[in-house]
C-alpha cells in the first residue's frame, strides 16, 4: 500500500532504465537529501556534526570505495587504511606546497595519487586472487604506513611525526583547520560525498560496472566473452583507490584536523571492511547503512547511557518512540520476529535503564565503554545472522514486502 507500484507504467526504454524506476524510491531519496542538505545543518549541534554527521559520511565514502573493489569487482583488499593515508598525505603536501590551491580541488586531486598507488599494488591481482590477493594488499598496508613514518618529507619534518591541517580559506571563509566552522566542513563533505556517490552509482550501472561484475562472478567466463581482465581489474583498483583516497583526505582535513601515521594502520582498514560487509557487498546504499551502524551507533549508545532517560525533552522522546515503532513495523512487514523482538527489546531496555537511574543507579564511564563494545559486537552478529548479505539486502527484502503489504501471498 505504502510502496504501491501499480499504475506506474513505463512506456519507453529510457523510463524503464531510469535510476529510480519506482516513484517511491525517488521520493524517499528526496526526503533523505532534504534532511542532509537542509534540516540537519540547521538543527545539528557541534557535537552532532563532529561525532555523527561528518564521520558517518566519510566512513561511508571510504566503504563505498572499498565496495567497488571488493563488492563489485571481487578483489579482496585489506589495504584501505593505507590508501586513505595516501590521499591524506597527498592532500597535505599539496596544500602546504601550493597554498593558493583551492582546498576542494586539492581534496579531489589527492585521490589521483592514491589511485596511482592503488593500481601499482593492484598489478598482482592479475595473477593471484582471493586470500592471496588479500595478503598482497596487506603488504601495501604495512609498507605504506611504514613509509608515512619514515619519509619525513611527507610530514614536512614535523618533530612529532604528525600532519597538522592548516587553516584553509575559500572565498573568505575558513573551510578547514581549527578556525573552520563545523557546518562549513559538513557541507564540503556532503558535497564531495554526494558527487562521488552519483559517480559510483552510474559507474556500477554502466558498462564498466558490468565488466567488474562479470570479473567477480567468474573471471574465466568473463575472459571468454571478451572482457579484458587486466583492464577490468586495474580500473576497479583505480576507481576504488581514488574514492578511498578522497575519503582519506576528507578524514584528516574535514574531520580530524591532525593525524599520525598509525591512524592509517590496519584497524582502520578493518573498520572500513566491516562497514562494507555489514552494509552489504556489491551495493551503494549499504555503505551508508553500515557506517550508521558501526560509526554512529556507539556514539548514540554512549549519549543514551550518559543522559537521564526520563528527563529528555518531549521531542526527543517522541522521536525515539517513533524510531522504535518504525523499526518494529518494518521488521513486522518482513515477518522477521527476531528483528521485532530486538527493536521492542531495545525500547524496554531503555525504559528499565531510566527506571534504574531514578533509583540512583549509575554506571562508570569505563563500564559504559565495555558494555557499548559488547552491544555493538552483538548487533553485528545479529544482523549478519538475520541477513548474511548485509543491511542493504535487509532493506531490499523489506521493500519487496512493502510493495505487496498488507496483502502478503
Amino acid at each position: 500500500m505504502l510502496y504501491r507500484t501499480a499504475g506506474q507504467f513505463k512506456t519507453s526504454y529510457v523510463a524503464d532504465q531510469a535510476l529510480f524506476p519506482v516513484r517511491q524510491d525517488a521520493v524517499l531519496l528526496t526526503i533523505i537529501l532534504i534532511f542532509g542538505w537542509v534540516i540537519f545543518p540547521m538543527t545539528a549541534s557541534e557535537f552532532t556534526f563532529q561525532t555523527l554527521l561528518i564521520p558517518i559520511l566519510i566512513y561511508a565514502l571510504a566503504a563505498m570505495g572499498l565496495n567497488i573493489l571488493t563488492g563489485f569487482a571481487g578483489q579482496l583488499s585489506l589495504g584501505t587504511g593505507a590508501f586513505m593515508g595516501v590521499g591524506a598525505y597527498a592532500c597535505y603536501k599539496m596544500v602546504t606546497l601550493f597554498p593558493w590551491m583551492n582546498p576542494i580541488v586539492a581534496i579531489l586531486l589527492s585521490g589521483v595519487f592514491s589511485a596511482g598507488i592503488g593500481v601499482a599494488f593492484g598489478i598482482p591481482s592479475l595473477r593471484i586472487k582471493g586470500f592471496y590477493l588479500a595478503i598482497a594488499t596487506l603488504a601495501a598496508q604495512f609498507f605504506l604506513v611504514w613509509l608515512f613514518e619514515k619519509w619525513s618529507w611527507l610530514y614536512n619534518y614535523n618533530a612529532s611525526g604528525a600532519i597538522q591541517v592548516p587553516n584553509l580559506e575559500m572565498f573568505g571563509v575558513f573551510v578547514s583547520g581549527p578556525q573552520a566552522a563545523s557546518v562549513t566542513e559538513y557541507y564540503i563533505v556532503l558535497f564531495v560525498v554526494t558527487l562521488l556517490t552519483l559517480l559510483c552509482i552510474n559507474l556500477t550501472r554502466g558498462n564498466l560496472g558490468r565488466t567488474w561484475k562479470a570479473t567477480r562472478d567468474m573471471d574465466i567466463a568473463a575472459e571468454l566473452i571478451g572482457i579484458n581482465l587486466m583492464k577490468s581489474k586495474l580500473t576497479a583498483f583505480a576507481v576504488s583507490s581514488y574514492v578511498v583516497g578522497v575519503a582519506g583526505a576528507l578524514y584528516v582535513f574535514m574531520w580530524k584536523g591532525a593525524a599520525e601515521p598509525n591512524v592509517f594502520d590496519i584497524p582502520l582498514s578493518f573498520q572500513v571492511l566491516f562497514i562494507a560487509i555489514i552494509g552489504g557487498l556489491g551495493s551503494i546504499m549499504g555503505n551508508y547503512l553500515g557506517a550508521i551502524l558501526i560509526v554512529g551507533l556507539p556514539v548514540v549508545l554512549n549519549v543514551v547511557a550518559g543522559t537521564q532517560v526520563f528527563e529528555i525533552s518531549t521531542g526527543s522522546a517522541l522521536l525515539l518512540a517513533a524510531l522504535i515503532a518504525a523499526a518494529t513495523f518494518l521488521f513486522g512487514v518482513a515477518r522477521n520476529l527476531w528483528g521485532m523482538a530486538a527493536a521492542i527489546g531495545f525500547g524496554a531496555a531503555t525504559l528499565i535503564y531510566g527506571y534504574a537511574q531514578l533509583q540512583g543507579f549509575r554506571i562508570e564511564s569505563a563500564l559504559i565503554e565495555h558494555i557499548n563494545v559488547m552491544i555493538v559486537g552483538a548487533l553485528i552478529i545479529f544482523f549478519l545472522i538475520i541477513e548474511p548479505h548485509g543491511l542493504n539486502q535487509l532493506w531490499r527484502l523489506i521493500r519487496e514486502k512493502l510493495i505487496i503489504w498488507p496483502f502478503p501471498h
Binding site: S160, N167, G177, P178, K256, V303, E364, S365, A366
Partner: protein
C-alpha cells in the same frame, strides 16, 4: 550514591525552575582511559585524580564553596574517542584534560578557538610552555624536554662533557608522545658529541620487543633512555632483564616508572631509574585525610595508594584545584568561567609553604607559572627501584633552561605560523 541522588534532584529541580543547576558546580571532565592497552598505567593515575577532588568535596565542600564535578569520559587512549569526549563535554567544562599526547595535538588547535584551557600535566607538546603563543595550553610542572635534559644530567653525573664519545639509545614509542624528546636529544648529541641511536617500538610491538632488544645488544650502548607508556614499559623492562642489560644504565621518563611494571621483575629490576616530578609520600598528612574522608567512606576505587602513579594523580588534581582557587581569588567569584581559570593557571604559586598547608610536602617540587611560562619547570628527582619500591636517588635536578627556552620559542612560533591565523596573547611580555 547519596551524592548522586542529591545531584539528580538538583538537576530535576533546575530543569523545572528553568535555571541551570549545573552552574553551581565546577565541571572538570577527565578524558580517562580505564580500558585498552594503556589501562594498566592509566587506572592508578585517574584514581589519584578523582580521589583528590572527592576529598575536596567531602572535607571542604568543594573549592571556594562550590563542589567539583570530576566526571570521567572513557577514551581507551583512542584519539577518535578523545575528540568525541572533548566535543561532548566542552559546553559546560571549565577545563579539558586530554590525557594523551595524540589527543592533545588534536584538541590543542580547537581549544584556541573554543577558549577552554587545556591542562596536560607533564605531557603534551613541550613548546606549550611558551604561553604567549599557546595561551590556552598548560603543561605544568615539567615538560618532556625538561625531562630529557634532567635525565642527561643524571646519567652524565652533572658533567655533560663526560658523555663525549658514548652511545645513547632512545627506546621510544612510535607515536607523537615517544617522538617528543628527539629534537632536543639530537641537539644535545651535536653539542656534546655523543652518538644518539633511535629505536622505535610500534604500537603493535609493545608486548614483544625482542627485535628492539636484539638491536640494543648489538649496539652495546652506554645508556638506554626510555620513552614508554602502557604495555610498552612492562615489555621493555622484562626484555632488559632477560637480555641481562645492566639496570643502572637504563633510565625512563616519568611515565615509565610504574610500580606494577617493576614488581613483575622484582629484585632483577633493582637499579632501574626513572626521572619524576612527583614523589610518593605515604606518610604525608593528606594521606591521613584521604583515609578519613574518602577511603573509609568507600568513595574510592584505588588499591595501591603508595604507588608513584597514584600519588602523581593526586598532584595533578592539586595543580588543577590550585588553579581554580587562584582564579576564584583573582576574580572574586566562586563560579569561574574557562577564561578565568586560564588566569588562575597562569598565576599558580606552588610554594613550600602552600604544599605544607595542603599536607603534600615533598610530593612535588615548588614551582610557579606566568603568562610566558605555562610549565613552571619545577625540576625533578631520580627515583630508583630498590627491588620492592621506588626510592629517591638524587637531589632535585633542574633542566638546562638556557638551552631549552630558545627551542621552545622557535617551535611555538613555527606552530603559530603553520596554523595562521593563530591568536597569541599580545598583552604578555615574555621578558618580564
Amino acid at each position: 550514591m547519596k551524592h548522586f541522588t542529591k545531584l539528580a534532584t538538583a538537576a530535576a529541580l533546575g530543569s523545572v525552575l528553568g535555571t541551570a543547576a549545573i552552574a553551581q558546580e565546577l565541571y572538570t571532565p577527565n578524558l580517562a582511559y580505564r580500558t585498552g592497552p594503556f589501562a594498566a598505567t592509566g587506572i592508578p593515575l585517574m584514581n589519584g585524580q578523582a580521589d583528590y577532588m572527592t576529598l575536596l568535596n567531602e572535607r571542604d565542600g568543594g573549592i571556594g564553596g562550590v563542589t567539583v564535578d570530576f566526571e570521567e569520559c572513557e577514551t581507551g587512549y583512542s584519539t577518535e574517542k578523545g575528540v568525541e569526549c572533548y566535543e561532548r563535554t566542552k559546553a559546560d567544562a571549565v577545563v579539558t584534560q586530554p590525557w594523551s599526547t595524540g589527543i592533545t595535538l588534536q584538541v590543542l588547535p580547537k581549544t584556541n578557538t573554543d577558549e577552554i584551557p587545556i591542562l596536560a600535566p607533564g605531557y603534551g607538546f613541550s613548546p606549550m610552555a611558551y604561553g604567549k603563543v599557546f595561551q590556552w595550553a598548560f603543561n605544568p610542572p615539567s615538560s618532556y624536554w625538561d625531562g630529557a635534559s634532567m635525565m642527561m644530567q643524571a646519567i652524565s653525573g652533572g658533567d655533560m662533557a663526560s658523555l663525549s664519545g658514548t652511545k645513547i639509545v632512545l627506546l621510544h614509542l612510535d607515536h607523537p608522545y615517544g617522538k617528543e624528546p628527539i629534537p632536543l636529544l639530537e641537539k644535545m648529541a651535536e653539542m656534546h658529541g655523543f652518538d644518539l641511536v633511535l629505536i622505535p617500538v610500534g604500537l603493535s610491538q609493545m608486548q614483544n620487543q625482542s627485535s628492539q632488544w636484539l638491536q640494543i645488544r648489538r649496539e652495546r650502548p652506554d645508556f638506554v633512555l626510555m620513552w614508554g607508556w602502557g604495555a610498552m614499559n612492562a615489555g621493555a623492562i622484562t626484555e632488559a632483564v632477560k637480555t641481562r642489560y645492566p639496570m643502572d644504565q637504563f633510565v625512563g621518563i616519568w611515565w615509565a616508572g610504574h610500580d606494577a611494571d617493576l614488581q613483575q621483575v622484582g629484585e632483577d629490576g633493582a637499579g632501574y631509574r626513572s626521572i619524576s616530578w612527583s614523589m610518593p609520600q605515604p606518610d604525608a598528612p593528606i594521606m591521613a585525610d584521604l583515609e578519613e574522608y574518602v577511603f573509609s567512606r568507600g568513595l574510592s576505587q584505588a588499591e595501591d595508594t603508595d604507588w608513584v602513579f597514584y600519588q602523581r594523580g593526586l598532584v595533578i588534581s592539586m595543580i588543577l584545584a590550585e588553579g581554580m582557587r587562584t582564579a576564584q581569588q583573582m576574580h572574586d567569584t566562586a563560579e569561574i568561567t574557562p577564561a578565568q581559570l586560564r588566569d588562575g593557571l597562569e598565576n599558580l604559586e606552588i610554594t613550600e609553604e602552600r604544599l605544607a598547608e595542603l599536607g603534600m610536602s615533598g610530593m612535588v617540587p615548588p614551582f610557579s607559572t606566568s603568562c610566558a611560562d605555562h610549565t613552571g619547570h619545577s625540576g625533578g628527582w631520580m627515583l630508583e627501584w630498590d627491588g620492592e619500591k621506588f626510592v629517591q636517588a638524587s637531589d632535585l635536578l633542574m633542566p638546562d633552561r638556557d638551552l631549552i627556552r630558545p627551542l621552545e620559542i622557535a617551535a611555538a612560533e613555527e606552530y603559530a605560523e603553520a596554523n595562521a591565523p593563530w591568536p597569541v596573547n599580545e598583552a604578555c611580555d615574555p621578558e618580564s
